[in-house]
């Protein structure tokens, strides 16, 4: 009897929380579907008589050029993650297998980049970018995003490469395989799972970043999408449906990645948090 009661209570609590979690999602979708006029004149729960989503997106494109920001952010996410993966897998391979002197110290040095909050290097990077002409450039954004992603990526690869069996390498070594080919023929192709984790995590992080985009860019064609969305905020009223339509558009890619690659996402989170 008490058991059954506890069970019912559990269900009730979880169901209540689930509703609380779902309301903002449903509200966002509902508002994104309304035309500006319907949003202002209808009650918050009423379904829109006309389909306003496409019109809202068109407005965001015409007024804010949101499509350009999306393209920029896609470039930063993909190229930034790839550069970080290349740098980190090379470094990880060298640290684990070639073991030059000071390999552990070098690892710690690179890894220490992840311990401090971003604010700790924001001002000098801003200053540096202004003096070398990287301010407000795509290259500058890619470099800073890659640099931030490298420590975690290195941590993952260094851990994973120690688990690759030596026998595979010995055979390749006998065939005269040098370090470069060893890395690209054996290590990188055999590390699909950690690469998926790193790529997913870092691409999502870059896509979602606001701070660096705000500080290091100015031109509309360079600014990442989150900065554009943040600058759309605060006008209220009839601009809200447009904002919500954009929120949907920029959130669906990362939600979709999560749905398709859920396994990697969760293992990555556990890795990132437990071992960071």
């Amino acid at each position: 009897m008490r058991q059954a009661l506890a069970r019912i209570l559990t269900y009730l609590v979880i169901a209540a929380l689930a509703i609380l979690w779902l309301v903002p999602v449903l509200s966002t979708i509902l508002v994104a579907l309304k035309t500006p006029h319907d949003f202002v004149s209808q009650k918050f729960y009423e379904l829109p008589p006309t389909f306003g989503l496409l019109g809202n997106l068109r407005n965001a494109m015409a007024q804010y050029g949101i499509q350009d920001h999306i393209v920029s952010s896609l470039i930063y996410s993909s190229v930034g993650a790839v550069v970080a993966i290349l740098c980190a897998s090379m470094a990880g391979y060298s640290i684990v297998r070639l073991k030059p002197r000071f390999n552990f110290a070098l690892f710690l040095l690179i890894y220490s980049g992840t311990i401090f909050p971003f604010q700790m290097y924001l001002i000098p990077v801003y200053k540096l970018y202004n003096s070398v002409g990287l301010y407000d450039t795509r290259l500058g954004m890619i470099l800073v995003y890659s640099a931030i992603c490298i420590p975690f990526a290195l941590f993952v690869y260094r851990g994973f490469y120690t688990t690759i069996p030596r026998e595979t390498e010995e055979a390749a070594k006998l065939d005269g395989c040098g370090p470069l080919r060893m890395l690209f023929r054996i290590f990188i192709p055999n590390s699909k799972a950690p690469t998926a984790v790193v790529a997913l995590f870092q691409a999502t992080w870059i896509w979602n970043d606001l701070l660096f985009g705000m500080v290091l860019t100015r031109k509309e064609s360079i600014r990442p999408v989150m900065v554009a969305v943040a600058s759309m905020m605060g006008f209220g009223g009839s601009s809200v449906p447009m904002l919500m339509a954009v929120v949907l558009a920029i959130s669906i890619p990362t939600i979709a990645l999560f749905v398709f690659l859920r396994r990697y996402f969760i293992s990555g989170m556990v890795m990132a948090k437990v071992d960071q």
Binding site: L17, A91, L106, M269, V274
Partner: protein
């Protein structure tokens, strides 16, 4: 292709060359700037004219700057609230979800906010809390005629509203980590305790929770570190306002540096923020260090 092992030095050079790109990027854009930032914090500097060395005066100024003090208090409030809600909430949800039918569906639901950006979260909740057309005032208005609270512009409601958004997004993190931790706990001790006549609460307090300790440490550390750094949600929902009343250290640092161009003062705030974050994670870094020594 060449047969036989290559000369030893060629590999030696190569071994450093492999590390070089990663090292250059991290050192050039993160590590060296950190040292510079510490240096800047000893100067009075508007970013354009010549910087004036002021020693520790930026740090001393914290004590008499009411904006800073409010921001510091707000930050501590965020940290405490984060420990109270997303962390404990995540643990409760993780435990409740174990063995529940439809657990996977609920898990996904609580997890999805985590995959979207803070900016999107802020936008979604700014709409929920908006005064005239917001959902919350709408729902409350169904029960109380003419109910209209200005959530985001009155103190301290605005911070509470933003914490709501934060909890909505962060609960999934601790839930996933606690679920991962729970799944590694062996069944035997739990069953033994139940056979010994302990009830579910006693079993949890004396058996399950102690075994969750490693995960709990991680979750608490990460939650504190993340809440100390809170920036995006506040920037998006209130810009730290009205009248800088809802700023946290990260927002104050940004405003002092990039809107008011007190670069030296901003640098000092970021140094303080770093010290707080490092202090919170010391225990944790030490743990990792031990693990690494075992690793080699």
């Amino acid at each position: 292709m060449r047969a036989g092992p290559r000369p030893r030095n060629q590999n030696l050079i190569l071994s450093y060359l492999f590390i070089l790109p990663a090292l250059l990027l991290v050192a050039g854009l993160l590590l060296v700037p950190m040292a510079q930032n510490l240096w800047y914090s000893f100067f009075k500097w508007d970013g354009i004219s010549k910087a004036i060395f002021v020693g520790l005066r930026n740090y001393v100024a914290f004590f008499s700057d009411s904006n800073f003090i409010r921001s510091f208090v707000n930050t501590l409030f965020w940290v405490v609230a984060t420990l109270a809600f997303p962390v404990i909430g995540g643990l409760v949800v993780a435990i409740f979800l174990r063995g529940l039918r439809l657990a996977d569906l609920f898990k996904s639901l609580f997890f999805i906010p985590l995959t979207i950006s803070f900016v999107a979260t802020g936008a979604i909740w700014a709409n929920m809390f908006s005064r005239d057309l917001g959902v919350l005032n709408g729902i409350l208005g169904l029960f109380i005629k003419g109910f209209k609270l200005s959530w985001l512009t009155s103190v301290p409601l605005n911070t509470i509203a933003m914490l709501f958004a934060w909890v909505w997004q962060q609960l999934g993190t601790s839930m996933v980590l606690f679920l991962a931790g729970l799944s590694t706990i062996p069944r035997d001790p739990v069953e033994a305790s139940i056979i010994d006549g302990a009830n579910r609460w006693q079993t949890f307090v004396h058996v399950t929770f102690p075994m969750l300790r490693p995960v709990t440490t991680v979750v608490i550390t990460m939650a504190m570190v993340n809440s100390f750094k809170t920036f995006d949600i506040i920037y998006v929902m209130t810009r730290g306002g009205p009248y800088r009343s809802s700023e946290t250290l990260a927002v104050t640092m940004f405003r002092e540096t990039f809107t008011m161009f007190n670069m030296g003062y901003g640098a000092a705030i970021s140094v303080l923020l770093s010290i707080l974050v490092i202090l919170v994670s010391v225990f944790y870094i030490k743990n990792m260090w031990k693990k690494d020594l075992l690793y080699y």
